[in-house]
Symmetry: D2
Subunit: 336 residues, 4 copies
């Protein structure tokens, strides 16, 4: 079978690197184009781990060039920049999986949190790329908005409880992420000395992933107020989300989760507490729940760069081309 | 001024080591007795960092020997063992600061979570050693139950909100601690490979610190249900507690905290998010709050071995002897 | 092409886990047998990261059973135990890649450092499995002694300089390894608190990998005295070796290394200093050299569990069956 | 006794912070002046850990102002800037402990490695502030050049072997330091993701501490070539140096070290391998040696910010004022 040519726009960051690694070993996709803002380098100059692994050269990102050879483009770009590329690529007939926030929210929420939207046309048709919720829509989509990392872990943990959450009670999400979630930028906050042997809260109750989570939960009929506080873990990779809810019926949380995800190959419901490390390197989302009285505590763990970004993006692309959902998607964690 | 002789019973563990370090440089206490289960070694054999720092020898712990020279004993022992020593020491006229759980709970709660209590007599008169709540009682006490680390951080964060928490709403405490909180024991859970680059939940909704927190909060007129989930951080030292509450009046959380602790020298209310590392090495509890609608998120950070155990114990001892509360208590953190 | 059935004996440790991960995705091998000392469990019970990844069941290791279905066995066992299995398997016609030390040394050196050898017969025919040095012998071997992790990194760094090292000058090897090199055993030395934010020497000048390195170097005509000091890094995975030598001719170390390894796909000669993390997750050995006067400093880095154990073992197995050397061998590192 | 007023010039960096912490609790010094390049802030704005610990305000560094109140100034400044301040302060009669490299080297070596020297006058009279080697000179000095961190650890390890090192054999120093040694600057190299779970060499055989070590060893009659390679450890604080030498007489390295340092209170000769963590938080230098044939391996560990900078600086100041050498100097490590 002839491979399908695909492009990465934004190959220099962490999610770009993960996309490269996934695509160069993918059975059905061929990485035909690796775009960066500058171009003209070897991928192994940007990512020294790729020396002798691939000899692909980067190009200055250019939609028209992409459209000449590629059927789909992954956008690993900052928001705002992403929608400029998406708009042009879609008009040129190239499918898009956008890893930025640009097509994840309703217009209203987007403009409240990120400013003016420049591609309202495509925003309407964008599909939120969480396969467990939207698989059939993704299959038919030209534009998939790849979910944020925190929303992915949060929604997969909470959505199964939709029918049982008490109306008008708040849902609290206490989330913790490794440093790779912040990308390659270098500020005081990413200095080793400030992260190592440390742990801290940031953007408490005002992180921009909160409305994304709320919108997605609303689409599952969960309209409770969602309160979200992220924390920074002193580790490179991985994310764990702890959610607290009040439930109005007698349920067995473990059975409910197990049943909800019985046909899913990338969600594992665990009897023992979730351990972040067991998902790092994979596309799995591990989920665990504990109960007491009318309280359900549910925690979920993902690799923020894979399930929370690049691997989920490739799963979405697999679906958009009618391929096997798990084609080229890693299941073996980095442990030990 | 002649120094007051004091003893440590249980000098071989982490909290024992911290007590040693605090007491050998204390201006008013003299470490006259360092007891272990075996005795007969130099402290620097047990704790190689103490080589050339102190030449105190350990003795096999023996209450009668302690009573001959010491006016107070710090018990850094497992629960159950602690109360056997406390009972005998108190009867011999030695004051006790007990770092175990043995005198922290009501009889009913104790026996529910730990089994039969062997010293009901003294349990009645034990004072819960959180100076910010019980300073005057501690001054007069012969037996102080030194609070657990999670309870210390949790109660200091939540107690100030007592008048404003909505009745019948749950309080959620999402707590995170470094590995030193588990002590020196070596099981699979403390293996470096299992902790490093990892993060996990344990004892979700069933940790034995939950009733301790609930009892202490009840003494502050907070009778809401408390739900507690601890997590293990991949770092050695320090603790951060995140609490979620619903509030029924319009308050300014920062002002309220600042006012509540205005006379306290070991609580710092921070305008910016709490950063665990800033308290490690000290007896400080740092607190930060964020608000949205009727929700208050409050987080607090302590050094689990100092404010969460040994330094708070020495503060209690200072109070019990009418000394300056801060005598010999560290304020300079280990940063960077 | 029909897959070749292979066995792992010792599937419960770290190298066993890595073998499982490599073999379940190998294009030509089929993991037909996973042996442990007990048997009777799912691999995912031993290694929770394998949940929903493989449903292979472990069996109590039994050579005769292995011989029924498998053409080759990987032995991930302690020394001594390994040779008992190897002997029997070889006699039953099963090829063996032994990851222990049992067949790496001359009889004399083995018995000096490990005690009596129980399979002198096969020891004679064992091939030291460092493909860059012994590729042709490995292809014909029935028994391959997979090199130790320190020796792999050390020999690949030093061997290219064979013709130029001054006679009668010592070679110093200052080696540093992550904690996974110690395996799953739990002693004080592996306690998180003792490793984290720490760094230490162990077995200075008396580690059992020293004679292994010396023997392998002697086979490359380097008969200088080798002095080896290992250190423990506060990280899970990876190894970096720094070697110091005196050279007697004017050479360009970078050019020499580049030329020496020009046909090797799993050695990368780097212009910039070696960075441990760039090899973790792969079978690469990265090498860098610096020079001043008659001194050459050369450093090399490998993943101790892959190039230093399991991936090199699979490379050896590939060679033993005439397969493509890189079949199923990972090249994409775990970075970031 | 009236306290002696002292100044810090350069209070915003890591060594500045350590100086602040040492001086605010010093029995005989009073921190009367905390200078930074900007001035006008609270120390706790620069160092949030100092909130409620000290209310000292920083001033824009100005030698004439310092001379009005202070008898000694600690310079925690970049090289070049340091000598501008030192020159002026010394001319105003203020004693100086300079933590930069500006007065550590001979003029020739300085100008080779750092460029033109601007204060040759004082360079001649500067004393190299390693108390174990130069105690009597330090007592009489007006200007002390505080040694670098790598040189401190290296020289203390190697100097005792002076009479026994084989002529014309090289000494190899394989050194490893935590990230705090790089200061607060933020480049790619200090990004958490690039340091964590990583280990690497930098400036191999060309670090500027090499000539400093060689000069100091020459003053101990060790004229062998010194070859120095530093590595970056994935930890915040601490340093371990491994040195390799050839010896020409039959010595017992442990006895020799023990005898050499028998009157020193800040050097500990250890029978077991040095463990970096045991010195962090203190002014100790721990030393361990192993021997085989004519080879001595010696390793030493220090806290790079304390013994390698600020605490050693305060020891020097103690000596310069005839105070007890250990006044205000920490001996209790941060363990666990």
């Amino acid at each position: 079978m002839k491979k399908i040519n695909v492009a990465i726009v934004g190959a220099s960051g962490y999610t770009g690197l993960e996309l490269v690694k996934l695509l160069i070993s993918h059975p059905h996709f061929n990485l035909a184009y690796a775009g960066t803002s500058e171009g003209g380098k070897n991928l192994s100059d940007l990512h020294p781990s790729l020396l002798d692994v691939t000899d692909i050269k980067t190009q200055k990102s250019e939609p028209k060039e992409i459209a000449k050879t590629c059927e789909l483009a992954f956008l690993a770009l900052p928001h705002k920049t992403a929608m400029e590329f998406a708009k042009e690529l879609l008009e040129l007939g190239v499918k898009v999986v956008d890893l930025s926030a640009d097509y994840r929210l309703s217009l209203e929420n987007y403009e409240k949190h990120y400013g003016a939207h420049l591609d309202k046309e495509h925003l309407k048709e964008a599909v939120y790329g969480l396969p467990e919720l939207n698989r059939e829509k993704i299959k038919k989509a030209s534009l998939v908005a790849n979910p944020g990392c925190y929303p992915t872990a949060s929604i997969l943990a909470i959505a199964p409880f939709a029918p049982y959450i008490k109306k008008n009670t708040p849902i609290f999400i206490d989330a913790k992420s490794g440093v790779s979630g912040r990308g390659k930028k270098i500020t005081e906050s990413e200095h080793f000395v400030n992260v190592n042997e440390n742990f801290l809260t940031y953007n408490a109750l005002k992180h921009r992933h909160e409305p994304e989570i709320a919108e997605a939960l609303a689409s599952c009929d969960i309209t409770n107020a969602v309160h979200f506080v992220p924390h920074l873990l002193p580790l490179t990779r991985g994310m764990l989300v702890s959610a607290y809810m009040q439930i109005n019926t007698d349920i067995n949380a473990f059975d409910l989760l197990t049943d909800f995800y019985k046909n899913e190959q990338f969600v594992r419901v665990r009897k023992d507490a979730v351990s972040l490390k067991l998902t790092v390197g994979t596309n799995f989302c591990d989920i665990f729940a504990a109960q007491k009285d009318d309280i359900v505590f549910v925690s979920s763990s993902i690799d923020n760069l894979l399930r929370g970004a690049s691997a989920q993006a490739v799963v979405n692309a697999n679906l958009m081309f009618g391929l096997e959902e798990s084609a080229g998607i890693p299941k073996a964690a980095y442990v030990p």
